[in-house]
Symmetry: C2
Subunit: 291 residues, 2 copies
């Protein structure tokens, strides 16, 4: 399918007035935010409606180290690795995500995007979810990890986001999210981006990280998988191949099933990373193919 992309114009994967959702990976180095924000500003001034989401793994790790409360990971009974979010880590995570959020909003303001508007998942209950029960082994016994504040965004306050966009704001959304019991939760924001793109019927969801897309043999960039179908996603999620991309696959699946035109797993470290992704650079998962 590589040939099919030859000659694709810079807007082939999305029309000029279609909604674009961009997830900025929380592990992208801060030095790349300038080029990312340049590109966002370009699309904004083209009049395209945009929603940005971002995680906070890198700034959280930095702040946790500075404070002297390094992050732990736990392995669940089912064999998945999960970051431990005890109350202190939740506080660190919340502050670090907000710090990155303000940085991105200020960088967009510098570029004239006066509508850039930071918001967390708890504000106006934008993202509501359920606290996960992490089952771990303690010696030979399976126990539920207490005092852990991890969850998954399950519902979005659509009318809030539409209302904000009606005020000509460009939402820049970060964790935490809020639980049904009104606790703040650390939640994966690839999944939140998938939910949001589906709920808002976005035309494209671009997920930027610090690799060029899905690589068949990491870190060989020549092994980039250029296109995938929804059926491929199903298979990869079930097989747990490329485990570190699993949440991106799940997000893509939710988006595509929800009617999003294209999900592109793309490189956030290059010039015009979003425009390139919309031109087909990265791993393109198309809703119109084989589904």
């Amino acid at each position: 399918m590589v040939e099919a992309k030859i000659g694709i114009s810079s807007r082939e994967l999305i029309g000029p007035n279609d909604l674009l959702v961009v997830k900025i990976g929380g592990s992208i180095e801060e030095e790349y935010l300038d080029t990312i924000c340049n590109d966002i500003a370009g699309h904004y001034f083209d009049g395209r409606p945009i929603v940005i989401l971002h995680g906070g793994s890198r700034p959280t790790a930095v702040l946790a180290e500075q404070i002297g409360h390094p992050q732990e990971t736990v392995t669940t009974v089912s064999g998945h690795t999960s970051r431990r979010t005890d109350p202190e880590t939740l506080k660190i995570f919340t502050q670090a995500c907000a710090g990155l959020n303000r940085t991105i909003v200020a960088k967009l303001q510098e570029r004239g995007v006066s509508g850039a508007f930071g918001i967390s998942g708890i504000d106006g209950r934008l993202f509501e979810g359920r606290k996960k029960e992490l089952r771990i082994l303690q010696g030979d016994k399976k126990i539920i990890l207490k005092d852990d504040y991890t969850g998954r965004a399950e519902r979005m306050n659509d009318s809030l986001l539409s209302g904000l966009m009606g005020l000509e704001l460009l939402p820049v959304i970060c964790p935490p999210i809020i639980s049904s019991e009104n606790k703040m939760l650390n939640a994966d924001f690839d999944l939140a981006a998938g939910l949001l793109a589906a709920e808002l019927q976005a035309e494209a969801l671009v997920i930027l990280s610090n690799v060029p897309g899905l690589l068949r043999s990491y870190p060989d960039e020549a092994s980039l998988i250029e296109t995938m179908t929804a059926a491929d996603l199903e298979r990869l999620i079930a097989s747990n191949e490329y485990g570190n991309f699993r949440k991106k696959f799940m997000a893509a699946k939710q988006a595509i099933e929800g009617g999003v035109g294209n999900v592109i797993l793309a490189d956030g470290r290059i010039d015009k990373p979003i425009t390139s992704a919309l031109c087909g650079s990265g791993t393109v998962i198309s809703g119109s193919l084989d589904y």
Copy 2:
């Protein structure tokens, strides 16, 4: 004027549909946030339009200590003491304010205030201001302190705030603010509250801190000054008496001159602190008196 207050009902200083602005002092201990949020929720469920602002001095000091970058103060040439905000302190301040903001929003959500909505002064350029030039003595020479990010909120994006309230949100606003040159700034939020109350023509501005109001002889709580006029404010600002309350006086002056009915400097550590303030507890500065 103490007698005049006998028998004042719980709504004497404000009508049921009048806008209430509450500033929560950044140095109030976190343990008092629960009672403050109880009171906010009560007014919210009464249907009163409310805007909350808060500073971040206490959480900033805590985080700065944790990180090992303790805060410095500088004395300017004109003899005022100012907190030094170097780039690292700005980052700490921004994160700490956001942490407190999320805490307050989550506490309000717990109480059923689903519209509670955190926002910083940079989002949508809510509060724009100018970078202060801090002139200090270096040996015998007067120099402008470089790399300091302090400023004062001078303009408010009224239509943004009205738009958010039109979405039935209860804004909970924190620093930083944004400069005309798009830099984040540490800004006093008593002054921001005064500006906001004036711009929105609030009926009352309640400024909560960890004292019962203005005390003639601190810390003697029996020396509470119960009422003040706008003329008193002018005099106190000019004389620099009660220096640590100077910004509150300036905020009150801006609010009263802007048409706000009453500004109440009140105790944030008591039960129903806002309701009590609206009943006349604290130092009441009335726009209708002697002006």
